[in-house]
């Protein structure tokens, strides 16, 4: 899954109101929220489908991407946004 495809998929899910822009979004980067009830349903579909491993694969990619973003952001002006409003 390329980042372009991932963005397209996220856009489709937002378009259908399955993924919401979190109000806690920061200026430099959008953050998304999935309603708990929606996520629980998705988990059922995930369990019923064969792509559990794909999910973990995607998760690993996501972690790596997030970690490198965070690493870049920790040094510099965007520090507050990377660490988050509550920290």
């Amino acid at each position: 899954v390329t980042s372009d495809e991932a963005l397209r998929a996220a856009a489709a899910l937002i378009d259908r109101s399955l993924l919401l822009r979190a109000e806690t979004s920061v200026a430099t980067r959008p953050l998304y929220q999935m309603l708990e009830t929606v996520r629980a349903y998705a988990a059922i579909e995930l369990a019923a489908s064969g792509d559990r491993d794909d999910g973990l694969d995607g998760l690993a990619r996501y972690c790596t991407a997030e970690a490198s973003l965070a690493a870049e952001g920790l040094i510099g002006r965007a520090q507050g946004e990377v660490v988050g409003p509550r920290a």
């Binding site: 309603l35 929606v38 996520r39 995930l46 792509d51």
Partner: protein, 338 residues
């Protein structure tokens, strides 16, 4: 019609009924009188939507905003909000309000028929709907409420054509996805506000939150003696937060207070957020359970989108329970601040 009734060999009451129905559809104005009354009545008061109501009322006086779409997840209260607006406008009397329920329609080709019927057109075939709608509306300002558009999105061009040709017409649509038509104004309807200060613990403070109020009022429908107290306030708030303050989820969970204590309900919802599954029989089938509500959205996705949907659930779940320190920012927000 007389010839038809003779051919069918109808007698007495049956023949009269056929003749009456033929007469009714031949006189659009007779149907028009019914249309206003066809807006479903509100069974419960609308809570926590003051901002949205104000915005929508303002937009509906703006000559440019002729297509307004209420978007948001299933169970968030789009139809309820649209009905509130429609009833208020119908009560003022200057604008004719026509309600077009589309939830039962799966084939976009039948949207034209549904609109023709709402307009009181004698021929509901949907052929040349635009031309006939122009004649039927004339100068009469008309608000068409297209409820539940998400599964007939392919009929969006028809809505665009109607708006382009019928000057007296406005459309208020509810849909989980926007129609993506030029000039569309989208009003995103989100979950109810929880609006609680961290130190708000007294029942008087808590009940200012629309989500808490909705839950408590639905509990009282089944248990009139129920009261928000300093003892149960935190638990009730936690239930609302666990359900993301989603109105349908709150309404489905509330009746369980007749069976379980608030603590026990919270415990079960924490283990399985879909626990309170079954809802009122008068809700549409796709809303009788939260499961069915999300399944409805899921089925409308393409195969790739379905896969993305399943996978994203996995990512969010993992971050929610085990946020790795290096991705604190993502973990914190995706798991939101619980």
């Amino acid at each position: 019609v007389r010839a038809l009734s003779a051919a069918l060999d109808l007698t007495g009451a049956t023949r009269d009924a056929l003749l009456a129905s033929a007469r009714a559809s031949a006189h659009p104005e007779a149907v028009d009188e019914l249309s206003g009354a066809s807006l479903p009545l509100a069974m419960t008061p609308l809570l926590g939507r003051d901002t949205e109501v104000q915005t929508l009322r303002r937009w509906l006086t703006d000559p440019i905003a002729r297509l307004i779409t209420l978007t948001g997840p299933g169970g968030v209260g789009k139809t309820r909000l649209a009905m509130e607006i429609a009833r208020a406008i119908a009560a003022e009397g200057a604008i004719r309000v026509l309600f077009v329920p589309l939830a039962a329609i799966r084939n976009p080709a039948f949207v034209a028929s549904a609109i023709a019927e709402a307009l009181g057109l004698a021929d509901v075939s949907g052929l040349d709907l635009v031309g006939r709608a122009r004649v039927a509306c004339g100068d009469q300002p008309t608000l068409l409420v297209l409820d539940n558009f998400e599964q007939v999105l392919d009929a969006s061009p028809l809505v665009a054509d109607l708006l382009a040709s019928v000057a007296a017409l406005r459309v208020l649509a509810t849909s989980r996805a926007p129609l993506r038509v030029r000039g569309e104004r989208e009003c995103t309807v989100g979950p109810l506000a929880l609006e609680l200060d961290a130190d708000a613990t007294s029942p008087a403070d808590l009940v200012r939150s629309p989500a808490v109020r909705l839950f408590v009022e639905r509990v009282r429908d089944v248990d009139p003696a129920f009261r928000l107290t300093p003892a149960n306030g935190a638990t009730v708030t936690a239930i609302c937060r666990r359900l993301d303050a989603l109105p349908l989820a709150l309404e489905l969970a509330a009746p369980w207070i007749k069976v379980l204590t608030a603590e026990e309900l919270l415990r079960r919802l924490t283990r399985d957020v879909l626990f309170s599954a079954i809802g009122s029989r008068d809700l549409p089938e796709r809303q009788q359970t939260i499961n069915a509500t999300v399944a409805w959205s899921y089925q409308l996705l393409g195969p790739n989108e379905q896969r993305a949907f399943r996978v994203s659930a996995r990512c969010l779940a993992a971050f929610r329970y085990r946020p790795p320190p290096a991705v604190l920012a993502g973990g914190q927000v995706l798991g939101d601040e619980r």
